[in-house]
């Protein structure tokens, strides 16, 4: 026991004060600069002027799917139609898209070549458009995103409010 004590007193005493000062400085810096950012993501859309999906004529091109979203008087969603056929909800829209493009994925697959043209009423609330784009562009299966159609375009806006 006595031997141990004498060993302890031989230990070099480190001055901790500057280190603790710096550490606290760093901590307060990180605490003050902390900005809580909600996770956000993008839907990429490439839309050059004057080229609506139907105007592009290409042998490789699959005819575009036209999705019509109509609005009620208060901007809520009143109806969905795909290529003129009415659709009950976004889940059904997604099922139809899946059955159209099949299971193939990759650079030359049907899902890659197909285009969707969105035709929305002026007053429609934007959240509905994002829900439609979500339904068209992919599904989440077991936490993994399965991509469907990536090429999404809008028809030119209609005048009037």
């Amino acid at each position: 026991m006595a031997h141990k004590k004498s060993q302890l007193s031989d230990k070099i005493d480190i001055n901790m004060t500057p280190m603790i000062d710096v550490v606290f400085q760093l901590m307060s810096f990180f605490m003050c600069t902390l900005k809580i950012v909600a996770p956000e993501g993008d839907f990429d859309i490439r839309m050059p002027l004057g080229k609506s999906a139907s105007a592009v004529v290409d042998d490789q091109q699959v005819p575009p799917i036209r999705v019509k979203l109509s609005a009620g008087p208060d901007g809520s969603l009143a109806g969905i139609a795909m290529n003129g056929n009415p659709i009950a909800d976004f889940n059904e829209l997604q099922r139809k898209v899946v059955s159209l493009v099949g299971k193939g994925r990759g650079p030359d697959s049907l899902a890659d070549k197909t285009e969707v043209e969105m035709d929305c009423d002026y007053g429609l609330k934007y959240a509905n458009v994002v829900r439609a784009i979500t339904a068209i562009s992919g599904t989440v299966q077991d936490g993994q995103i399965v991509e469907l159609i990536k090429k999404i375009k809008f028809t030119p806006p209609k005048a009037g409010k």
Binding site: V23, E40, V129, S137, P157, K161
Partner: protein, 146 residues
């Protein structure tokens, strides 16, 4: 000197747990800290989407246009009207051309409120198209699941 350290009456505080904690906290704040200069505004309530997974890297040279539910646009922190967007974009375009870049290489990030009118979002896109921008990113808040 030797006498001082061996003096049993001097109280020595054990710093180790405190330093451990402090380093833990520093590491936590360092990881949580976000250096990206993402433009976010409390006036915009983004629509939710399960597919809006956060992007890996920041978009190069983005132009962020935020549309409120009242139909006005927030550009560079300033509230402007939908009609004024064209003038601001013209300025962005000339800055880009001066830097030797084409406007069609830039991405326009559209942060529109979920309650905004779709027609107004399309109006913004149309104004951008007229100025030569053609890459758009519609931003949504990531919805973590059902």
């Amino acid at each position: 000197m030797a006498k001082k350290t061996s003096d049993p009456s001097s109280t020595e505080i054990d710093m180790t747990p405190m330093i451990d904690m402090t380093f833990q906290l520093i590491t936590f704040f360092m990881f949580v800290m976000n250096f990206s200069e993402a433009e976010q505004d409390d006036r915009i309530q983004l629509p939710m989407s399960q597919l809006a997974k956060p992007v890996d890297g920041p978009v190069e040279k983005p132009i962020t246009l935020q549309l409120t539910n009242k139909g006005s646009v927030i550009y560079a922190g300033e509230l402007i009207g939908l009609r004024d967007v064209s003038g601001y974009l013209e300025r962005e375009k000339s800055v880009m051309i001066d830097a030797g870049k084409e406007p069609n290489t830039a991405t326009v990030i559209v942060r529109a409120d979920g309650a905004a009118k779709t027609g107004e979002v399309q109006d913004i896109i149309k104004i951008c198209q007229e100025k030569g921008f053609e890459k758009f990113a519609l931003r949504a808040k990531y919805d973590e699941g059902r």
